[in-house]
């Protein structure tokens, strides 16, 4: 079943030096329960697409349908609630002056989820679900490690009971050992809650291990869309091959695969 459908999605920014086509005529479907990776370098339009999906940026033309309902940038709380975001930088995404519990609770208050008296209990449960002790809720973000902060961000998104999570480079600011733990957590949560992920990243090695399908973007255009196994065994677009060719590798098997794919043999 298609959960999210992008149809001819286009975003043009007017600038003093003329129009900039950030996203040009993108159409793709996201299936319920899948993890779709959106891959591209800076200027590929991947963040612009995410912002349109999240409803914080209006499309110039084209439409976004979620669960067969067309969405505009002005959305009802009910529509908004089901699409949530986890950002790249766990330091800036949590308000330094509020306790992490207050940040996680925001969605419960905005969408009026559960009884008021039970909301702190719900916050603790949300923290527990991402592997953090519930009594941590009174702490300030500054006293947490990068990995813990990113878990709080995930808990905040999950507290809204979403169906689709937009993960915008969720692990690029983390150390590799922490990244591994957070990726495993995201995998578990997807299975447990039947979530759908849009995983935005520049890191193809991460994509290979977490995504079901991959959409490759270059200068606002969708240049390749395919199953992850296909992208990493027989990439079609030259740009995809170029991206794979630039991935830093750590073992001989990877080196062989990379060189083979980059040459396009």
């Amino acid at each position: 079943m298609t959960l999210l459908a992008l149809n001819g999605l286009t975003k043009t920014f007017e600038t003093p030096t003329g129009p900039v086509h950030a996203v040009s005529d993108v159409s793709l479907n996201v299936q319920a329960g899948e993890c779709l990776a959106i891959v591209g370098e800076s200027g590929s339009g991947k963040t612009t697409i995410a912002n349109m999906i999240l409803g914080i940026l209006a499309a110039t033309s084209g439409e976004i349908a979620f669960d067969r309902q067309t969405l505009s940038a002005k959305r009802s709380a009910k529509q908004r609630r089901r699409i949530q975001l986890v950002q790249q930088n766990p330091l800036s995404s949590l308000n330094p002056k509020r306790s992490i519990g207050a940040s996680v609770r925001l969605g419960l208050d905005v969408y009026d989820i559960g009884k008021k008296s039970g909301r702190w209990t719900a916050v603790e449960a949300a923290l527990d679900a991402v592997g953090l002790p519930g009594n941590m809720r009174t702490r300030a973000p500054a006293s947490l490690s990068g990995g813990q902060r990113q878990r709080v961000s995930i808990a905040r998104a999950l507290a809204c009971d979403p169906r689709l999570l937009v993960l915008d480079e969720p692990t690029s600011a983390l150390d590799v050992l922490v990244q591994a733990r957070v990726l495993l957590l995201l995998n578990d949560l997807r299975a447990k809650h039947g979530l759908t992920y849009i995983f935005i990243t520049h890191d193809l090695a991460v994509v290979r291990n977490v995504a079901d399908r991959v959409a490759v973007f270059q200068s606002g255009q969708l240049v390749e869309l395919g199953e992850t196994s296909q992208i990493f065994s027989a990439p079609k677009a030259a740009y995809t091959r170029q991206l794979i060719g630039a991935v830093p590798v750590v073992d001989a098997a990877e080196l062989n695969l990379r060189n083979k794919l980059a040459e396009g043999v």
Partner: protein
């Protein structure tokens, strides 16, 4: 709070500032009880003892009509501090509100509000106050009104510049994605991040408000006699310099000490709260 005070106390200059501010505040509050001549705040005349230099009886001497200068300074602090607190209590919320609206909401609101602020900021504060006091009657209330009118734009500017920066932070985006209202984002998310700077500026400004208020009454536009006020005391005594130096030097020192205290404390708070100006 306690942690803030502890770090503050570790710096000798900040500690001095804090001590001065506490002493002045206590002196002002308890003036009627600790002043040697509590009645000298008002219209008291004692020509037998007028214009006396400092002595063990009158520590800072007496004025032209024989009132104890030390007592009058304690009462004058009451006026200065009240004025400062009232001015800031009105100017800070107004300025903060306007700064937050302009900084977070942006668009045409930002344009309109900040141009108004610019107009106010382009007029030298004392000139604006003098102009207002020229039109209005010179009373304490009007003095407060005049000083308030020129004070809020500074807070609008300060809060605006911080809010502009905070608007781009990830936590604001997070709240917007969740669908929190503009009121929640401005007051619950952004405002707490402006507070350290606001508190620091308020402390520094207490000193400035005292100077401006004193300047107004020095010019005869503020608090009117016989009420004790530091500015008018300096003005009255200025004609008798250098012979009757105590008439001006002690009220002048009193202004200096208050301003100095609030500035040291403000600087200390700025370091502790991590505010960059």
């Amino acid at each position: 709070m306690i942690r803030t005070l502890r770090i503050l106390a570790a710096n000798p200059l900040s500690l001095l500032g804090l001590t001065l501010v506490i002493l002045i505040t206590l002196a002002a509050i308890f003036a009627p009880w600790i002043a040697p001549f509590p009645t000298h705040n008002g219209a008291v005349v004692d020509f037998l003892n007028n214009n006396r230099p400092p002595s063990s009886h009158n520590w800072m001497g007496t004025d032209l009509v024989g009132r104890d200068i030390f007592s009058r300074i304690l009462f004058a602090y009451q006026i200065s501090l009240t004025l400062g607190v009232v001015v800031l209590a009105i100017a800070v919320p107004i300025g903060t509100m306007i700064g937050l609206l302009a900084g977070y909401i942006g668009g045409w609101l930002e344009m309109v509000l900040m141009r108004i602020v610019d107009v106010f900021l382009s007029i030298p504060p004392l000139v604006l106050a003098i102009a207002m006091m020229g039109v209005l009657e010179p009373t304490l209330t009007n003095a407060m009104l005049a000083v308030t009118a020129m004070w809020w734009p500074w807070y609008a500017r300060l809060v605006y510049s911080i809010a502009r920066g905070e608007r781009e932070e990830g936590y604001v985006l997070a709240a917007e994605v969740i669908g929190a209202g503009a009121g929640h984002i401005a007051f619950r998310e952004i405002l707490p991040n402006c507070l350290p700077a606001i508190i620091t500026k308020m402390t520094l400004d207490m000193g400035f408000v005292i100077i401006i208020a004193s300047s107004l009454s020095f010019l005869g536009l503020g608090v009117q006699p016989p009420t004790a006020d530091l500015g008018s005391m300096v003005a009255e005594g200025a004609r008798y310099l250098p012979d009757s130096w105590w008439l001006t030097v002690f009220p002048g020192l009193a202004i200096l000490v208050a301003v100095f205290g609030f500035n040291l404390l403000g600087d200390g708070l700025r370091d502790v709260l991590g505010v960059d100006e």
